[in-house]
Symmetry: C2
Subunit: 315 residues, 2 copies
């Protein structure tokens, strides 16, 4: 049995996965703020899985996906600003209490592995896949034949800071017209006058009602996502781009905008048309356990219980 946790800014999603890859227990608990509270959240989440009937004694590993940089080859999380964590060795912090090996991975990379595993559940693994996370920021994880593409410094997939318009909005990174400045939930919320809890949903509704500022923001979101899809397909030649993250709660409304954007570029360019981008984009289903499942696969990377898992988890 392996446990996987997706530690999010507000909630932590936890799953217990049996040796066949099936999720046998799942819980969601609020995430604490700051290094100590995040450590406590991880321990509480494992306890909550046990309370749901998971056999604690059968747990062989815990994997944790976390929104921050994870130093390659370590469990050291740095700059997890959404969690109030500046620096934390999460394996060292929770390992003694949990009593099993703990591995930590960036949450988007973990979700990419999980999305790949879920997509292949019917035996239809794509050769290569990107998971494009649309949340406060924009970033992707790339998986080829079950392995994460990490790159030289573990930062592969950081497509959010590719500029696609020198006259575009200023990005918090200092550049203009970054994909994230157009399509990041944080950037959209900053530029939207409304103050509700779901600013991007408000933007979509206001755009439908004809508000010009909202229409512009909404069009920018589609442009940014379309550009990210093109970058991922052209650079890494991924077969499929799976969209996930908070903004995908917009569901078909978001997907329809992205499809229209991709159709427009296909109309202008026979080359783009030949890539059939519209057919390659998919939404992760709402409530998908991809991120926690991927974390469980990361956690089990040291075990190599069987060939399939070995392939699925080694980066």
């Amino acid at each position: 049995m392996k446990v996987g946790l997706d530690v999010g800014g507000t909630k932590t999603d936890a799953v217990a996965v049996d040796h066949t890859g099936r999720i046998v227990a799942r819980v969601r608990i609020p995430t604490g703020w700051g290094a100590d509270a995040v450590t406590r959240t991880v321990i509480d989440a494992v306890d909550a899985l046990a309370a749901e009937g998971m056999d604690r004694a059968a747990v062989r590993s815990v994997g944790i996906g976390i929104p921050g940089q994870v130093e390659p080859g370590t469990a050291r999380v740095v700059h997890a600003v959404n969690l109030g964590v500046d620096e934390l060795d999460l394996a060292a912090a929770v390992g003694p209490t949990l009593g099993v090996p703990v591995r930590v991975e960036n949450d988007v990379k973990a979700a990419a592995l999980g999305a790949y595993a879920l997509r292949g559940a019917g035996g239809a693994h794509p050769a290569t896949m990107a998971y494009l996370n649309l949340g406060t920021g924009v970033a992707a994880g790339i998986v080829a034949r079950g392995r994460l593409w990490r790159g030289a410094h573990g930062t592969a997939g950081e497509v959010g800071h590719i500029s696609i318009d020198p006259a575009g909005p200023l990005c918090r990174c200092g550049q203009r017209g970054c994909i994230e400045a157009l399509a990041g939930g944080g950037a959209i919320a900053e530029r939207w006058a409304g103050a509700g809890a779901l600013p991007v949903l408000e933007v979509f509704d206001a755009a439908d009602a004809g508000d010009p500022a909202a229409r512009q923001l909404r069009a920018g979101l589609a442009r940014g996502v379309g550009a990210a899809v093109r970058v991922l397909v052209l650079t890494a030649d991924v077969d499929v781009v799976v969209l996930g993250g908070g903004l995908t709660a917009l569901g078909e409304r978001l997907l329809a905008d992205v499809a229209a954007e991709l159709a427009e570029s296909a109309e202008a360019s026979p080359f783009m048309r030949s890539l059939r981008l519209g057919e390659r984009v998919e939404l992760l289903p709402p409530g998908s356990p991809a991120a926690a499942l991927g974390a469980a696969l990361v956690g089990a990377a040291g075990e190599a219980q069987n060939e399939t898992e070995e392939t699925l988890v080694h980066g």
Copy 2:
């Protein structure tokens, strides 16, 4: 002994490589036009190597890099427009005459493998590397731990058709502001009024002399190359980007422009600064045999004479 050929639009570069990876013979001959003449060129190039002292009987494989699409898993070249070849099974055409296994690869991908091999000659292989070819068009090959990243359809590295400016020049692909529309030698030549044999060199000289149109074209070249470097580093997290192709005959003049462009984006953005892009860009030395050497490695892919070669050539 393995033979590698880089079939270019005007010249074909051929090398014979011994089992230690050393180039023991090298020739250059003009490339013929059309399928029959290209076939003849390949046979002539191998003959020319033999005339230079290569032991024909010791040749175990021939690899060919060619500027066109090569259908994955085949030796079928399609759309090699610079060679006047619409479709050609090159292995079938030359195999009976050469009498050894023949493999064919897109020339940029072959050059990427060769550049990786050359760069690691002193034992300093980067973990991941991109070879960015600046010729008539712009395309890259990505190598990780000695293996080509091919992607789902063999088109990974096609960064030339990523748009970085919706108000940029029209690209022959139909989009606006593609990297290739700014940095492709073909696109620059089309927009430059001069009619010399080396239009991009003319553009550089005219820009130095203060010509405004030339300065704009030259700045666009640097912008396009800078953007390609950023895309390759952010998406694939390659450690090094090696620049090659016809335009790199401009040498340090080109590299200085690109370095200035990267320095400018680093100044605007702490995030970009942290990537130290300027330190990651290198020029392939003039006259480098990278493309032919890479083709030789591709050709020997079926042999697996030793562990190193196995690693170097399998895609």
